[in-house]
């Protein structure tokens, strides 16, 4: 956390809504990205991110300053998204079945780069869509936010061993799906007889 952010946080905890809005501006991207990766749809992600900030605003007095603020926000967002996925039974539905819509991009890439990025995002959505809500949250927290097993456990209210087993299972599932999607890429790779770097 930067020095102004610490100041905003202390002001927000005293009930200053403008200071909290500054925090919203500062943390909108990590929170929105988690919601977008979890729910796979921009509109739902926007609503989920707004709701997560509202919940954070309402329970700011319960925030433990020893804990990183971003992890606390991500924990609130992840719990909300898991509830949403469970409630809407989206976990039984592949994200491929969701209506195609514009994927928000960060930055302004060239048309070609934009096309590749959109393709990548779609592929990513399909991959993440196969995972259950909690496994999905664990994978997102690991790869996009580089959180440790302990931090993921704290954020998702899971034990460290449960996080490890969820990540283990999720990786197996992602690898299985990746192989099913790209048989040609694999055969060409095998032909090259290239040993994977570990």
């Amino acid at each position: 956390m930067t020095i102004p952010e610490i100041e905003w946080l202390s002001q927000a905890r005293k009930g200053d809504n403008d200071a909290f809005t500054n925090l919203v501006e500062a943390y909108q991207t990590p929170v929105y990205n988690l919601c977008y990766r979890m729910l796979g749809e921009a509109g739902e992600a926007e609503d989920a991110a707004q709701e997560s900030f509202w919940r954070a605003h309402q329970s700011l007095s319960k925030y433990d300053p020893q804990r990183p603020f971003v992890t606390w926000l991500l924990s609130i967002a992840a719990h909300y998204c898991i509830d949403q996925l469970r409630r809407r039974r989206l976990d039984t539905l592949s994200m491929d079945l969701l209506p195609e819509e514009a994927i928000p991009d960060s930055g302004t890439p060239t048309p070609e780069a934009s096309f590749n990025q959109t393709e990548e995002q779609r592929h990513l959505r399909a991959l993440l869509g196969t995972l259950g809500p909690q496994d999905r949250a664990a994978i997102i927290m690991r790869y996009w936010y580089d959180l440790s097993d302990e931090e993921i456990g704290q954020a998702l209210s899971l034990s460290v061993s449960a996080v490890k087993s969820r990540l283990h299972r999720a990786r197996r599932e992602l690898a299985r799906l990746w192989l099913a999607q790209q048989p040609q890429a694999l055969t060409s790779e095998r032909r090259q007889n290239e040993a994977p770097t570990l």
Binding site: T21, Q28, A49, P104, G107, H123, Y143, R171, A195, L198
Partner: protein, 184 residues
Amino acid sequence: MKHLPYEGWLLSEEELTVEEERTLRMHLDSCAACSRLATALQAVEQEFTTIPLVAPAPGFGQRWQAALVEKTREAQIKRQRSLTWMFFALSALGALTIFVVLNLQFFSNLPTPVEFVTQAVYQMSLAISVGKSVLNLASVIREVLPLSIPLVVWIDITTAFCILCFVWIFAIWRLPISKRSTTK
């Protein structure tokens, strides 16, 4: 299973010893299934770690501020509503408690449920008959009273009542004005 330690090593993120890494490499050279798994995992991880964070549409902060106003208002209404319900529930509970306490002695004197039901039915019928009698009395008074009072008296009463109403309305109308002038 011949893939057992190797598959676990690939899927976990635990650091491998030099010896473990060497045996894993040897296994990957000879096992197509584990080799495929390693390739797929590497590709997935690369895809996940190279794609940047997605930002929301511009104006997220403004939308947040608008939502904050709306949600605070909604929360206030909700709180008021729940307070009203709580007050209502407490009142009902209080009334029930008073009712039970007042009737406790009466109920405790009844040894069997049959007697209790008989008494309850009797009390209810008594209450209904009392209510009916009161209504009858009221209708009799309503019919008899106008005949016994002369018409002139009726006109006087009505006029006095109208004047009183007028004075009352005038007082209500004047009171805030005088208050306002004194505050000025």
